[in-house]
């Protein structure tokens, strides 16, 4: 079993005791093991990789490539050539939209869902310019992907199905293996946004059978500035390069160039070497905890959180009620702030907002005064906010260093906030 209180001791920012950090879906804290790995790199072998014929450059190259292998294995990929280092999930998906996008033509369809993060939406919307059609699968009343609706959106013209594994707002865990089958039966590629799943559960790209998967280091105890695009090597091989420059070439002439092997073809310029090394240390840390334990811990915590949430009047929360298909993300509102309508507001005699409504900004500011960090806003999922009929939500997200104690603090502070803002 995972003991969050012991885990938290590895995180200096948390062990001071004045911070209840409930925003790990945005970015996680870093354990000393990760920071030390980066520092050790700086002070023992910092240098540029791949081309140096001297000791520290060879050592740096080895650490960088070992990091690739390690991270690659962590998600069940046997061939490190399929693990491309990028800045973050966002860049990974843009890499795909630019390279896969070149092969699409007017009328081709891409299927997404209304619960996608902007990062798995805007890059694909760019392709509408060339006549590519984007279709969105809907969710049901509990915030689960509606399989019938999804099926109806996938058709003869579908080239790409790109879906999030876990929603960063609803917490919904999507059945990605089934979705992969659905996409592949329609001869479509299947892409998984793993930003909220790779950090939180055991996962295997081979058994999911996704064609590509994207995730970010900073959401899994690693540094910012490093992320991964996993791809089946035979598919990556056929893609044109994304960025041009050093390292990604085999040979450059004045009139053109040829490309390097995978994964280097997609890593132009000096990579974030320390970032990769830091992420590898984060992967070691998580593997040591055991990803099964990580998932079980979050499931139990969510079970508790949802029970506690039921005790608070006027609190609405979103996403599946079954913790088995709900990740460590808890989005909620206190009251439902109705949409603003100018005409009706100007003509009404009294304020339309009643006593029980509390704006997410006010909740978040109030919680901050008790040292509790939660996020408020659209969580980079505006279309989902529209779909839910809200302008924003508050979101508390949990990770390996969070305990029931943290949940208790949250709910006590919420009760107090309600009193403080009561009209």
């Amino acid at each position: 079993m995972l003991d969050p209180v012991r885990v938290a001791k590895d995180f200096p920012i948390l062990s001071k005791g004045d911070l209840t950090y409930l925003d790990s879906a945005a970015t996680t804290q870093k354990p000393v093991q990760v920071v030390d790995a980066i520092e050790d790199y700086y002070y023992s072998c910092n240098s540029n990789v791949h081309r140096g014929i001297y000791r520290i450059s060879e050592e740096a190259t080895e650490r960088y490539e070992k990091a690739r292998e390690n991270i690659s294995q962590f998600v069940g990929s046997r061939d490190p050539a399929g693990t491309v280092f990028v800045r973050n999930t966002t860049e990974a998906i843009n890499l795909l939209s630019y390279t896969l996008g070149r092969q699409l033509k007017a009328g081709d369809e891409i299927v997404l869902s209304v619960m996608e993060h902007h990062s798995n939406m805007v890059p694909w919307q760019f392709l509408r310019e060339k006549g590519v059609v984007i279709r969105y699968a809907d969710i049901d009343s509990e915030g689960r992907l509606d399989p019938e609706d999804l099926k109806s959106k996938i058709g003869r013209k579908t080239r790409i199905v790109s879906l999030t594994h876990v929603s960063n707002v609803l917490g919904t865990v999507n059945p990605v293996s089934e979705l992969a089958k659905m996409a592949h039966e329609a001869s479509s590629l299947f892409i998984v946004d793993g930003a909220q799943s790779v950090p939180h559960m055991p996962l295997d790209v081979k058994s999911i059978d996704c064609d590509f998967m994207a995730f970010s280091g900073h959401k899994m105890l690693g540094p910012a500035g490093i992320g991964v695009l996993y791809g089946k090597p035979e598919l990556l091989m056929r893609l044109p390069p994304f960025m041009g420059g050093g390292d990604m070439i085999r040979e450059v002439r004045l009139d053109g160039a040829t490309w390097n092997d995978l994964p280097y073809k997609f890593e132009a310029g000096t990579p974030n070497i320390e970032g990769a090394i830091g992420l590898s240390a984060a992967v070691d840390y998580l593997r040591n905890l055991g990803m099964d334990n990580v998932r079980r811990h979050e499931m139990e915590l969510m079970d508790y959180v949802m029970k506690r949430a039921g005790e608070i009047e006027d609190l609405t929360y979103y996403g599946p009620r079954d913790p088995k298909v709900h990740g460590g993300v808890f989005s909620f509102n206190i009251g439902q702030i109705p949409a603003f309508d100018l005409e009706s507001e100007l003509n009404s005699r009294h304020l339309k907002i009643s006593s029980q409504e509390l704006h997410p900004h006010d909740i978040s500011s109030y919680l901050d005064q008790s040292g509790i960090a939660v996020r408020a806003g659209h969580h980079c999922a505006m279309p989902l906010m529209t779909r839910l009929g809200v302008q924003a939500t508050s979101r508390a997200s949990f990770y390996v260093y969070n305990s029931r104690d943290d949940a208790d603090k949250l709910f006590i502070a919420l009760e107090n906030a309600k009193k403080a803002f009561a009209r």
Binding site: A339, S348, H361, D362
Partner: protein, 124 residues
């Protein structure tokens, strides 16, 4: 109570009981401002006679900072010359509000000021 706490109380009072909320009869300058990030909205209305703001009202929806600051701004502007509004800077207005708002909420605090200034400009 510290000055900061007093300011916070004043904000809460305005939020709970906004001044000058509703439709302004005879309004001849109005503007809606909207923060897409959180959905906060302020519709600001002015009645201008010559160079003077005779009256100001607002309606809106949003967090305490956005609504209370709109309420306070209506109080501040009533009976003042337009010049007063035009020369009111963002940091000046934030000083009047007296609460510390982080960068993420500054936009909320300034929503009404932006709306009021744009309303005057658009009425010209």
């Amino acid at each position: 109570m510290s000055e900061e706490e007093i300011s916070a109380e004043i904000i809460l009072d305005h939020y709970r009981n906004p001044h000058n909320y509703g439709k302004l009869e005879g309004s001849n300058a109005s503007m809606t401002e909207y923060n897409p990030i959180c959905g906060d909205t302020v519709h600001f209305q002015l009645r201008i006679a010559g160079t003077v703001i005779e009256d100001a009202k607002f309606v809106g929806r949003g967090c305490s900072v956005s609504q209370a600051s709109a309420s306070m701004l209506t109080d501040m502007l009533k009976g003042k010359p337009i010049e007063y509004l035009e020369s009111l800077t963002e940091s000046g207005f934030l000083d009047v509000l007296g609460i510390k708002v982080g960068p993420a909420r500054e936009k909320c605090a300034l929503l009404s000021l932006t709306a009021a200034k744009k309303a005057v400009k658009a009425s010209r």
